[in-house]
Subunit: 209 residues, 2 copies
């Protein structure tokens, strides 16, 4: 019954039903074993410390923090941790950030279970894995855009219904500078106006709801 070298998996997700599904899937594989579960970022780190799993499946939306930040906190302590982001499709910005921050894989919850376990095995074997449909979407917004931190700040202010003058006051810059930032934002996001810029940014995960 017991395998020699099982892949020990930690699952981090705030949906109990998803946990059950992952547990059923992983434990059905002869070469895998779900060793722990966490439903928020803080306990994810605690569980990781205790069980030191081979693979961590990490959801992006957690109640206490972003899944990427949870991953970063794990990687800081355990640089060799192999974290796979497992989420429903979010914006390309999240994916880029995840990969840049050290994720070894990115999987969609809509993928068939067989694909999911394949990815777990691939990543456990030391490879990285991003599914083709995500890679394609990533390539689309790769070379060109990417907002600077300041531009993202300005964009968040716009989404809250602030006028340029108010944004200027809040960020301690002139209204003219705000306009320059907005111009760059619209150019990068290929938006006609500030309103479409916000809509696009929300869709692509640049700003959160």
């Amino acid at each position: 019954m017991k395998e020699e070298k099982q892949i020990r998996v930690l699952s981090v997700d705030d949906h109990p039903l998803m946990h059950e599904g992952i547990a059923a899937l992983i434990n059905n594989q002869t070469d895998m074993n779900l060793v722990a579960e966490a439903s928020d970022g803080r306990s994810a780190l605690l569980e990781f410390r205790e069980h030191q799993p081979d693979i961590t499946l990490m959801d992006l939306r957690l109640p206490d923090m972003n899944g990427i930040d949870a991953m970063i906190s794990i990687l800081k302590e355990f640089p060799n941790a192999r974290v796979i982001i497992l989420t429903m499709f979010e914006g390309d910005v999240e994916i880029q950030r995840a990969l840049k921050s050290g994720a070894r894989g990115y999987m969609l919850k809509t993928m068939p279970p067989k694909e999911l376990v394949k990815v777990v095995r691939r990543v456990h074997a030391g490879k990285k894995h991003i599914p083709p449909e995500i890679a394609a979407n990533l390539a689309e917004h790769f070379s060109n855009d990417a907002l600077t931190p300041r531009e993202t700040e300005v964009l968040a202010q716009i989404a809250e219904g602030n006028r340029n003058r108010d944004i200027a006051e809040r960020l301690f810059i002139s209204e003219e500078t705000v306009k320059v930032h907005i111009k760059h934002i619209m150019d990068k996001l290929d938006a006609n106006d500030r309103t479409q810029a916000v809509a696009i940014a929300i869709r692509r995960g640049i700003i959160q709801l």
Copy 2:
């Protein structure tokens, strides 16, 4: 092993892992039985026809159509169908639409499994169920707003970065009328400008990404 009167459940969700989780949960109850699964709206209706389940658990985001529309298509043919919306939190507009369209319950995927099966039993017993946290949020935006169909159209146009003049042309009305609609939209959504109106509308599920 077999119970006398089991609650026969159909699960509609496009996440295979969620299906597994639901299956595990339902089949673990002595008084319930998962009789069928569907991953899109079209097959949900087909499965319903074939199995005529007591309870249908319906996700809102499906690949081919909105879960509410899938529910409506089922209710048209089977007016006594008991459909429970099971989803992660969307905007209050979706919830209102679901309940108005005949949903018997609304559950969040973040709820503990024990709560979920309780709701299934309650709805099967003929009661309706909306969790308190949702009911509270619903009350907040109840009396006041609710955009008219035309206002929603205008709002969608705004979100696409169209100017008032363009919106007027597309909807075959004058620019002045567009302005009136936008004024009403901003008043109802309590937005400072068109941009915040779009952000709020996306958050509340009035317009989709």
